[in-house]
Amino acid sequence: MIELKNLTKRYGNVLAVNGLDLSVSAGEIFGFIGPNGAGKTTTIRMMGGILRPTAGTVLIDGIDMSRDPETAKRRIGFIPDRPFLYEKLTGMEFMRFTADLFGMGDGLFREKAESILKMFSLHDWADELIEAYSHGMKQRLVISAALLHDPRIIIVDEPMVGLDPAGIRMIKGLFRRLADGGTTIFMSTHTLEVAEDVCDRIGIIHLGSLIATGTMADLKRMASSEEANLEEVFLRLTEEESFGA
């Protein structure tokens, strides 16, 4: 479903992402974790077609992002880490705008938008200006808009930021249900418990390179610590790399 081949991004002399090779299958939830400045957001932006890689390829459902970005983006629901929302639009107008860009027809839109907004407890706020929304509501609206066109792949950067415990539980459940239905989810997060709870596989990126990939059990083996939780595994692997570097 998602395939990254030798994906590289360089900003001047800084190597932000260094030859990333990775594939994520259909129906899989992949957690992407790493310290601050490791290259997570840069990778996600390249996957979303917002940033052009210096080298390498991003394949979305077999479609090369650099060759046919429109078709590739049509398959993705993209949720950035610091989402921008037009403050003077209402929630429903924002959904309408997104739907128009994805070419959804009028008939399908209204029903779909209302059901998603209901699911995210935003229905009563649909006709209010976004400037009146709380941080968590804005985050829920961005996720709602990303799900509007039934994407086959969801790429999400820090999905739980600003959400309350009920919201976090709802998103975790939703992601699991979507993945069971065949949707691929690529998720970057700092919340290691969430990654441990939800993800089928986890990749650890450090200093622009993927230093470990696998299931929780695989990562524990790599860190030579069968009893450790993800936090301990993460710290051990990233420290080893830092000292080795």
């Binding site: 900003y11 001047g12 932006r45 979303g48 077609g49 917002i50 940033l51 052009r52 970005p69 429109e70 078709t71 590739a72 983006k73 049509r74 993705i76 993209f78 950035p80 989402p83 921008f84 037009y86 403050e87 003077k88 639009l89 209402t90 107008e93 705008f97 997104t98 128009d100 860009l101 994805f102 070419g103 200006l129 400037e131």
Partner: protein, 566 residues
């Protein structure tokens, strides 16, 4: 095309929703206030051009030459303004807007996103120039008694005029954004635009346009303009538009259409070329724009070695806030051109006094000099109030969403406001005193007037600065993307009104006593005890008013800012 229209929808919907949100009363007041100012400016331009053109018409043989030269110069000026304004707007729209991540994640072709952004940028950069060019063209139409062909030609030419400027600017932005990160470019372009504008203002002032009303000098100017009768370069878009309007003014529709068509064909070719080039370079520039921009001109080192030690005498928390003020102010590159502009305006202000033909006046020279000195006091404090509205009033709002740091710190709001007060008081006091002393020296006023001006300004500057800080704290806007715009809010309007009231009150209080003392000196007559009493009360009232303005406005700001926390 459908996708381009969809991409423009958030702008249209946001504009529509802006009228149905809270705070409409304040907005309406603001629109009315600025609408009146804008209309006055529009009428002023029309009146000026109408007067000048009528004057030119009265001079045989040279009238048309001068009028066409003026039109040509005006078109070049408008074109330059459009070019610079388009550079800044297209840079922001194409590379720096906060919604770009959202838009580029959507399944829309990059060329369409580019087209929508370019269109928005062309519209944003042109509308004001278009509106304020209309009185110019209208005055030509009326003075030359032009028919519908001329007015049609104006509309027919203005559209490609703006499109050409916008496309050329976008091409420049596309080329340079491929080499440097866009965030860094904005600072450079802003400074360049500022410097260019300042040079234009200074150049215009040094030409001494007031000499045009002097008949002796005017004949020389006419000869000079006559020698400039040569046509502009046929390769310049302004020449095609000039030729088209000139033909339309003389009623030649076919010639007007031909030159207008030249503009249209060039503008469409240019748009097509820009779209083609954008396909090759836009995404690369956008990727580059997302890299971190570097620091400029080693400011950090300057601050460490310069302002840092100067503020060492202050206690820790006060020094921390003061250093933050200095650093954030100097590192904001958008402030620099405005600082240059202030310096240029000060130079022009003083130059005006230098070239003032006081000796040619029919009023007695000594009397006139001192009247002017008195007016100068009001004028310079009004300049100070305008500067404060731009820099001092938004000082509290400038904290933006980071104001929580101040609120959660152990520094009382009162101290925080006082630091802001002194940060602005010192430079503004130096600036205003320099202005008043230098202009009084140029006017060669009496020592009494010099002393009175220096002391009055010394009292008024703290009052005006304190009112700026106090009212800025009472009407803060921490959510604004551009806090400098808070000067145009309701609070900003109240501030300017109160400042005008204070300046007026001080001038009125001092005018009578100053006149009495001055005339007694001129005529060598004495001052009665009753007059002395009146003079003493009036002069004593000035510091009282100023001190009260400082105390009340600072307290009010503190109270409002503190009560907002609860």
């Amino acid at each position: 095309m459908k996708e381009v229209i969809v991409l423009l929808k958030p702008r249209i919907w946001s504009f529509r929703n802006g009228f149905s949100t809270s705070g409409m009363r304040e907005k309406r007041l603001k629109y009315i206030f600025f609408g009146i100012i804008g209309l006055a400016f529009w009428v002023g331009i029309f009146a000026l051009f109408y007067r000048v053109l009528t004057y030119f018409q009265g001079t045989e043989a040279f009238g048309d030459v001068l009028a066409y030269k003026l039109l040509s110069m005006t078109l070049v000026t408008f074109f330059s303004l459009l070019l610079f304004s388009s550079i800044l707007t297209s840079l922001s729209k194409l590379y720096l807007s906060r919604d770009l991540t959202l838009i580029h994640a959507m399944p829309v072709r990059t060329e369409k996103i580019f087209l929508a952004r370019w269109f928005e940028s062309a519209l944003d950069s042109s509308w004001m120039v278009l509106i304020y060019s209309l009185p110019v063209f209208l005055s030509y139409g009326i003075v030359y008694k032009a028919g519908p062909v001329y007015y049609g030609a104006v509309i027919f030419n203005l559209v490609p005029f703006c499109l050409i400027a916008s496309s050329l600017s976008t091409l420049v932005v596309l080329a340079v954004a491929g080499l440097l990160p866009a965030g860094r470019l904005r600072g450079i372009f802003v400074i360049l635009a500022g410097i260019l504008f300042i040079l234009l203002v200074i150049a215009f002032r040094l030409m001494r346009p007031e000499r045009l009303v002097n008949p002796a000098a005017f004949s020389t100017v006419m000869m000079y303009v006559k020698s400039l009768e040569t046509p502009g370069s046929p390769l310049l878009p302004t020449t095609w538009i000039m030729d088209s309007l000139k033909a339309a003014l003389s009623g030649s529709a076919s010639s007007a259409l031909f030159h207008g068509a030249l503009s249209w064909s060039f503008s469409l070719t240019l748009i097509f070329t820009t779209m083609g080039i954008s396909g090759l370079t836009y995404l690369d520039g956008l990727s580059r724009a997302q890299s971190v921009s570097g620091r400029h001109f080693g400011l950090r080192r300057t601050l460490k070695t310069g302002a840092g030690p100067l503020l060492r005498f202050l206690p820790g928390p006060v020094r921390a806030v003061a250093m933050k003020e200095v650093r954030t102010f100097l590192r904001d590159q958008t402030q620099w051109p405005q600082l240059f502009l202030i310096l240029a305006l000060v130079a022009i202000y003083l130059y005006n006094f230098y070239v003032l033909p006081v000796e040619r006046s029919v009023i007695k020279m000594e009397y006139l000099q001192n009247i002017l000195s008195f007016l100068n006091m009001g004028l310079s404090t009004f300049v100070l109030a305008a500067l404060s509205a731009r820099f001092v009033f938004p000082a509290v709002s400038n904290e933006g969403p980071a104001f929580w740091i101040v609120r959660s710190s152990p520094i009382p709001i009162r101290l925080f406001l006082r630091i802001k007060f002194f940060f602005f008081l010192i430079p503004l006091l130096i600036l205003t005193e320099t202005l008043i002393v230098a202009s009084n020296i140029l006017l060669d006023v009496t020592p009494f007037m010099m002393g009175l001006s220096v002391i009055t300004v010394f009292l008024m500057v703290p009052a005006i600065v304190a009112m700026g800080i106090g009212l800025g704290a009472a009407y803060p806007d921490f959510q604004s993307e551009n806090p400098a715009q808070s000067a145009t809010s309701l609070g900003g309007l109240i501030y300017m009104t109160l400042c005008s009231g204070l300046i007026g009150a001080v001038i009125v209080l001092e005018a009578g006593p100053a006149y009495t003392i001055f005339m007694a000196g001129v005529h060598g007559t004495g001052i009665t005890p009753f007059q002395w009493l009146w003079i003493a009360i009036a002069f004593a009232a000035v510091p009282v008013i100023c001190v009260l303005a400082v105390i009340f406005s600072m307290r009010w700001g503190e109270k409002k800012l503190t009560s907002d926390q609860s």
